[in-house]
């Protein structure tokens, strides 16, 4: 209450002073850094006079301060974290304004402010959890996408490659099971949903990761997974013209194709012979669809018909076993990649405005010859229009174009897969065709003689295909801010973006797809001309889409201080509207020379040339229109007493235009509160070596809404039925009125410190999360007709962990050695999961999947208990009712419950982080970053006979298979049998013998940088010049598994670790 009275009194006093007192003058001034004339935000100015007058004011984010002072003689003592206190004496009345320069203190905490996207916070007084990465740290890595660099240097974040092939940044583990798990990305004040590849990494000033609830509550419901704020470079006032230039050239090594551990050709031929003997190919031979046989099976068939001698077969077999498709991939398809990157930036400023222009150009060529060009242009400008009125703008334009290259592994396929002895070229390198969709005997028969050539040349096909896409993005941000009296400031921000993307897939008449499509519709009458319902010529698919988004934000800020009090507050609202519309089309029979398109009848059924089945010609025309609208209101308040105690609070509520959702479910308030205590500011604190010590804690609530929370069932119109020629509809969402919001509460406590004048600094934080009413798929009786599972609020999870960041200057002087350690521990467990399903098979899936067993991690790794291989047959065995069994239907069926499984541990690492060491001597700096992940498990791949027989995908483990009694003592790989129950494969695939520990340590990058000495450069009028060399993707230096598997590249499909990346470059500023 006393405080409140003081506030009122002060406000009243200020009011009177501002309006009446004639003997007073409003004195204004600005604080700048002596080194680069940059303004210093949130400095503290203590104005005193010999007469006992004392007044404390704070500078705003623009470095300005003002105070109404009676006539007299004053002294201003200016302090700001990271700077030595500056003193200036002055007289009132005076002309002009004050300019006070401060000197930076070495070895202070480097990053004084953090940007939340709404405001700049003084780090020493903030209550929340932030971690910041600076330009210097970012520039130790190369690459097109700036966020990819965070993994090697960031704190508290893990790139999760276990639950999906694409790495996903995860900040402090999970806070939802089903909802979006990506952090929210903020680019210069506004949420960014575009492609991060559009941002030139050289334009980035810093990246701040907001990790706790105080971060989330200001950014609303979308921030439950943490927020990443990207701040771009801006020019400062009163700085001379500066020119920066940098360039990098990188060479990307070929990936190691042998990593896949595919089955060799000789083994595969053996399997084909085995299956042929069992009659496996009979139905393919008799197939009406002319289903192809591999070359060796064709020969086996000929031999069985007596048309080929045993010797001829043996000879061919020997030849086939010497072929390896992966050798051909390595020789003809994969090549070294090359990346080039250039960036130029000019900046300058005067008294009233500052500007910068930057341009970047990237050209990347990957291992398959895909080229990716990107140009970016950026122009930023700030005007001080009047004393209190500032206008700033940023315009960015980016233009990117991607053109696909050769077809790689997984794209060159034969029929159901690729047989290992497929050969793409003969000994002289001349391209060869491989078996594709139809039997060779059929394609060479008179029946198909009048059709277009139907053979498939893997090495030539890409030459006839032009697959490219382009993106043009224009973005403008405007910010008008006006300083009102009494420490108030109002600002209005407006952002407009227009993005056009287009993609074209031109499959020339020679492309296999085109020939195949034309042939399958062709009608060949017994006499007369061949009829082509799909005209001969190229097929062109194109798609264009346009995104237009507008965002407004109005904000009213207050920042003021008097005596020992400091208050900063903020209220505002935000409004966003994003509209995407697109259209796709397909053209047949395109003459690429004369640009004439063919005519087709989409409404008529044509018989397929091979199967006789009737089908329509695919009509590729479609249109779509999507809108993503968003409104929110927010407020934020922080109060600091004696620069030592801070309390903060924030609240926000937002709503979006999810279709079919009831209005009262739209808005939900989120809030947070926090405290901080700077111990070093206390009078009693007298510990020599402690320069800074702050304790802080926050708690807050966030939430998540699911688009499935609809009050009514909704339908979607996918297109027109070619049969009834009318639009048809499907159910999109089923009315699910019982759903509630997800609720996530998060507590964070931390300590920030700086010891021995910066020798050791950093932070230690503990957090815990409690997420309740989480959405999950709940299996239901599908007699209800709405599918086999629906969304319900089914789960409650708890997570806790620690983030530790330590920066140490181990050696300084001539030889410098600095170390940064980011170490995180994260543990989550399911507290409640209301899913009745305990069927073991639902907990075993190929990727990491949500298990939902109370007391265990959300992503848990389970396996079938292993009873060894049957000594007589080599069949894998598990346990049914505690007895070794080969009854696979019982083993993988309802007889096995989750309690019968073996639990290994989490599928996500419990401990992870990185360690960066910088060694420097004279101008030479060597940086090495290592990443580590510990305490988690993954399931490795092995032989899957069903997959081998049907899709020709074998695994090298086949070599170790059980062959004769006694082998069961040496191997766990099941024998080859036919018929092969798929349940037998399913049991082995999920058996405990295939579980490995994921622990590993890898080198993320090594960077060597040489900075030329200033005196050498002085004569050349160059301020700085750095040359650097960098190696990335260096691979693993320790792994717990003995199989040579990189646990980050284990998901199914072709998921190869990338090749090493060697880069060289220079950076200079004039």
């Amino acid at each position: 209450m006393k405080e409140m009275k003081r506030i009122y009194m002060f406000m009243a006093l200020a009011w009177c002073l501002a309006l009446s007192a004639k003997a007073q003058q409003v004195v204004s001034g600005r604080i700048i850094n002596n080194k680069d004339s940059a303004v210093i935000a949130y400095g503290s100015v203590v104005i005193t006079s010999s007469g006992g007058f004392r007044k404390v004011v704070t500078t705003g984010s623009d470095g300005y301060f003002s105070a109404a002072l009676p006539d007299g003689r004053y002294r201003a003592s200016v302090s700001s974290v990271g700077f030595a206190t500056g003193v200036l004496d002055f007289l009132v009345p005076m002309k002009g304004s004050l300019l006070i320069g401060l000197d930076a203190v070495e070895n202070q905490l480097e990053d004084v402010t953090v940007n939340t996207g709404y405001q700049l916070l003084d780090r020493t007084r903030s209550t929340g959890s932030f971690s910041k990465v600076t330009t210097v740290q970012l520039s130790q890595q190369v690459g097109r996408n700036v966020l990819d660099r965070l993994e090697a240097i960031g704190n508290g974040l893990n790139v999760d490659r276990a639950t999906g092939t694409e790495g996903r940044i995860s900040i402090r583990g999970l806070s939802t099971i089903r909802g979006p798990k990506e952090p929210l990305i903020i680019l210069d004040d506004f949420a960014y949903s575009g492609d991060l590849g559009n941002i030139n990494p050289d334009d980035v000033e810093s990246i701040t990761v907001l990790k706790d609830a105080s971060a989330a509550s200001i950014w609303g419901a979308r921030a439950g997974n943490g927020v990443i704020v990207i701040t771009t470079k801006r020019s400062r006032f009163n700085a001379p013209l500066a020119i920066d230039f940098s360039t990098t050239v990188s060479v990307l090594d070929k990936p190691d194709l042998g990593y896949e551990q595919r089955m060799g050709s000789a083994d595969f031929l053996g399997v084909e012979e085995f299956l042929f003997g069992k009659g496996y190919y009979t139905s393919a031979v008799n197939s009406f669809y002319k289903q192809p046989l591999t070359p060796f099976v064709e020969l086996l068939l000929l031999q069985s018909e007596g048309k080929l001698s045993v010797q001829q077969l043996a000879d061919s077999r020997a030849t086939f076993s010497s072929f390896d498709a992966y050798d051909d991939f390595d020789r003809y398809v994969y090549d070294k990649g090359l990346n080039q990157q250039y960036s130029l930036r000019l900046s300058g400023s005067g008294d009233r405005n500052s500007w910068s222009v930057s341009a970047g150009f990237n050209r990347n060529t990957d291992n398959l010859g895909l080229t990716d060009r990107r140009s970016t242009l950026r122009f930023s400008n700030t005007f001080n229009i009047m004393k209190n009125l500032q206008f700033s703008s940023i315009f960015t334009y980016s233009d990117a174009r991607v053109k696909r290259g050769r077809q790689g592994i997984g794209e060159i396929v034969s029929y159901s897969g690729l047989y290992p002895y497929a050969r793409f070229a003969d000994g002289a390198g001349n391209p060869l065709p491989i078996t594709k969709q139809y039997r060779e005997t059929y394609l060479s028969s008179p029946e198909t003689a009048r059709l277009l050539d139907w053979s498939y040349y893997p090495l030539l096909d890409y030459l006839h295909t032009d697959n490219s896409s382009g993106l043009k993005d224009l973005n403008a941000n405007f910010d008008l801010s006006y300083r009102l009296p009494f420490g108030l400031k109002t600002s209005l921000k407006y952002s407009i973006e227009e993005q056009r993307t287009s993609s074209e897939l031109l499959q020339g008449q020679q492309a296999y797809y085109t020939r195949d499509y034309i042939n399958s519709f062709t009608q060949v009458p017994a006499s007369g001309a061949v009829v082509y319902p799909v005209p001969v010529g190229a097929i062109l698919d194109s798609r264009e889409s346009r995104l237009k988004s507008e965002q407004y934000r109005g904000q009213l800020e207050y920042s003021g201080s008097w005596k020992e009090h400091r208050v900063s507050a903020l209220v505002g609202f935000e409004w966003r509207r994003a509209v995407t519309n697109g259209n796709s089309s397909r053209v047949y029979g395109l003459d690429t020379d004369k640009l004439n398109a063919g005519l087709v009848d989409f409404a008529r059924l044509y018989p397929n040339f091979v199967t006789g089945g009737s089908s329509y010609i695919q009509n590729g025309t479609s249109f779509d229109l999507k809108r993503n609208n968003f409104i929110s209101q927010f407020a934020n308040l922080a109060y600091t007493f004696r620069d030592a105690y801070t309390v903060s609070a924030s609240a926000r509520t937002d709503a979006s235009n999810v279709f079919g959702i009831s209005t009262n479910n739209r808005w939900r308030p989120l809030w947070s509160a926090g405290i901080a205590w700077d111990v070093t500011r206390m009078p009693f604190f007298k510990v020599d070596f402690v320069d800074f010590l702050k304790l802080r804690a926050t708690y807050g609530m966030s939430g998540n809404v699911d688009p499935g929370m609809v009050g009514v069932s909704t339908i979607r119109y996918p297109g027109i039925s070619a049969f009834t020629q009318s639009p048809y509809a499907v159910f999109d969402k089923y009315s699910n009125p019982d759903l509630r919001w997800e609720k996530v509460g998060m507590f964070n406590a931390g300590v920030d410190f700086n010891l021995w004048k910066g020798r050791l600094s950093g932070s230690v934080e503990y957090y815990s999360k409690q997420a309740d009413d989480l959405f999950g798929m709940f299996p239901i009786d599908y007699t209800t007709g709405v599918g086999s599972a629906i969304i319900k609020n089914v789960a409650k999870i708890k997570g806790d962990g620690m983030d530790i960041q330590l920066n140490s200057n181990n050696l300084s002087g001539g030889f410098n050695w600095q170390t940064t350690l980011n170490f995180s521990a994260n543990k989550d467990r399911v507290v409640k999961y209301y899913v009745p399903n305990t069927l073991a098979s639902s907990f075993l899936q190929s990727g990491a999947s949500v298990s939902g067993i109370e007391g265990l991690p959300v992503y848990a790794v389970f396996s079938y208990k292993w009873a060894g291989l049957d000594p007589l047959t080599g069949d894998p065995m598990g346990f049914v009712n505690g007895v070794a069994s080969r009854d696979y239907n019982a083993l993988i069926g309802p007889a096995t419950q989750v309690g019968d499984l073996r639990y290994h541990g989490s599928a996500l690492p419990k401990y992870f982080g990185n360690l960066v060491n910088n060694f420097s001597y004279a101008g030479l700096t060597l940086s090495v970053s290592m990443g580590f992940k510990f305490d988690y498990y993954f399931r490795r791949k092995s032989i899957d006979y069903t997959n081998l027989f049907d899709s020709w995908n074998g695994h090298a483990d086949f070599q170790q298979r059980w062959r004769s009694p006694g082998d069961e003592l040496l191997t766990n790989v099941p024998s080859l049998v036919f018929p092969n129950p798929s349940a037998r494969d399913a049991f082995y695939k999920y058996a405990e013998v295939l579980i490995e520990k994921g622990d590993h340590v890898r080198i993320q990058y090594i960077n060597l940088d040489y900075a030329f000495e200033k005196r050498m450069l002085g004569r050349l009028k160059i301020k700085t010049l750095n040359l650097f060399a960098n190696v990335g993707n260096l691979g693993i230096i320790y792994r717990a598994n003995k199989k040579g598997i990189d646990p980050e590249y284990i998901t199914s499909g072709f998921n190869l670790p990338p090749g090493k990346l060697f880069s060289f470059g220079l950076r200079t500023s004039l």
Partner: protein
């Protein structure tokens, strides 16, 4: 003070923009292709979803039946559930979650939504409204009947008192599933079809959409399966009166990969199933009993089948390349003939049969059946039914109903060196409800 006013202006303007635009912004559709069903176009669009409605016939009706057999190697290439179904095992005949039960009830929900959506809508009860309502009623009745054919015993064994299938009258997925009796199921289907008759146009714009003839056709089937032969015959006759076309098989080319074009003139209501496992056309070897029954001049033998290595494979589907399970004129002639014979009008019945068969034989070679006793006439009609309606999803139900009357048909299959048989009226004629459904819903399983 004036300055303060001016400086607050942008904020004020922005607030006004927000306040006015706020609700409009939140009401905008997130995707233009979305809708809450309300217009007649919406409901018709739901009924034109052929994937859910036309292509979801239960293939288990054909996998289980004795129209075919397959080789050991081809059986080994089928899925576990298909192998168990083929060998008439007691349990685990359906893979969990995605099976004939799920597609059936997805369609039942689909139709139910349209029916209740129309009933509660303020739309004008005009021809378009009636048409859509009729379509939904016909589809739902058809799915009830097919479900009872798969999971129910013959109606005739207990006058419908045996357990049937759930009817799911409510759209609320929180409401528990209960099994209705066969009688309740057929009553519901028949009531829906009778309601649909006056609502539907005589002919629809496409055989994917049910017409009045389709409703009559399904009514004929329902009456036949429930032993009401007089009514079954009348409904078949009503159907034929609306659509009596028969294809002259002499005009077709046996060399064609598929002898019959899609949506040919005999098709009244086109629904179909995708063959899988042992019933795939290159795996399913047609039962030699059927092949031996064709007379030399019967064109069906060459138009329906191809011969490879002494085995016959089916190519006579009316929905190439998939299996036609819908209503076609030929089936209606056979139902009418059977019912006339069963109700004592033997000569009239045989005349109807002649009308069908003359189009199936080489021109000038067909000689009318000359029999007078009812029992032999019925056998002739049923034999012709077997020869005409191969792989149409009808045999399994015929086995049930004929055995219920005492036909005493024993079916058996040999594979991997063993032979399994299914005795007449064996409980396994009602396939087991998917085990996961039993676990999730608690409804009683069929007698095993």
């Amino acid at each position: 003070m004036k300055r303060i006013h001016i400086s607050f202006l942008p904020l004020l303007v922005a607030y006004v923009i927000m306040a006015t635009g706020c609700n409009k912004l939140l009401e905008e559709k997130s995707d233009q292709k979305l809708a809450v069903p309300g217009t007649i176009t919406d409901f018709q669009a739901l009924m034109d979803n052929f994937t859910v409605l036309n292509s979801s016939e239960p293939i288990s009706l054909e996998v289980s039946a004795d129209d075919y057999s397959t080789s050991d190697a081809d059986l080994a290439g089928s899925s576990e559930a298909q192998r168990r179904m083929y060998s008439w095992q007691k349990d685990y005949l359906f893979a969990p979650a995605n099976n004939d039960w799920s597609t059936t009830y997805r369609a039942v929900y689909h139709c139910g939504s349209v029916i209740s959506g129309l009933e509660s809508s303020p739309l004008k009860r005009d021809a378009a409204f009636n048409n859509v309502m009729g379509q939904a009623l016909v589809f739902r009745a058809k799915f009830y009947m097919q479900a009872m054919a798969v999971w129910g015993k013959s109606y005739l064994l207990s006058s419908g008192q045996d357990p049937g299938v759930p009817l799911r009258p409510s759209l609320n997925f929180n409401e528990a599933t209960v099994r209705a009796s066969l009688k309740e199921g057929y009553d519901q289907a028949i009531e829906g079809l009778k309601m649909a008759v006056p609502l539907l146009p005589v002919k629809s714009i496409h055989p994917y959409r049910p017409s009045r003839a389709a409703a009559y056709g399904l009514l004929a089937r329902a009456m036949l399966y429930t032993g009401r032969y007089m009514e079954a015959g009348l409904y078949a006759d009503s159907c034929i009166q609306l659509s009596d076309q028969l294809i002259d098989f002499n005009k077709l080319n046996p060399a064609d990969r598929y002898s019959f074009s899609l949506f040919n003139s005999e098709v009244i209501f086109d629904t179909y199933a995708a063959p899988g496992g042992p019933v795939v056309s290159s795996r399913a070897r047609i039962n030699p009993q059927i092949m031996d029954a064709y007379q030399p001049n019967d064109l069906r033998k060459t138009l329906y089948f191809t011969q490879t290595n002494g085995n016959y494979f089916f190519k006579g589907t009316y929905h190439q390349p998939l299996l036609f399970f819908g209503i076609a004129t030929d089936e209606m002639y056979l139902v009418w003939a059977e019912c006339l014979v069963r109700t004592g009008q033997v000569q009239r019945g045989l005349a109807v049969l002649d009308k069908l068969l003359v189009s199936r034989f080489k021109t000038g070679t067909y000689s009318p059946v000359a029999i007078t006793d009812a029992k032999s006439a019925l056998k002739v009609v049923l034999d012709e039914r077997r020869k005409e309606l191969v792989m149409r999803g009808l045999r399994w139900m015929d086995l049930k109903r004929l055995n219920a009357e005492g036909a005493n048909i024993l079916v058996s299959r040999s594979f991997n060196g063993q032979t399994v048989s299914l005795l007449p009226n064996d409980p396994r004629y009602a396939l087991p409800i998917p085990e996961d459904i039993i676990q999730l819903s608690g409804i009683p399983q069929n007698e095993r």
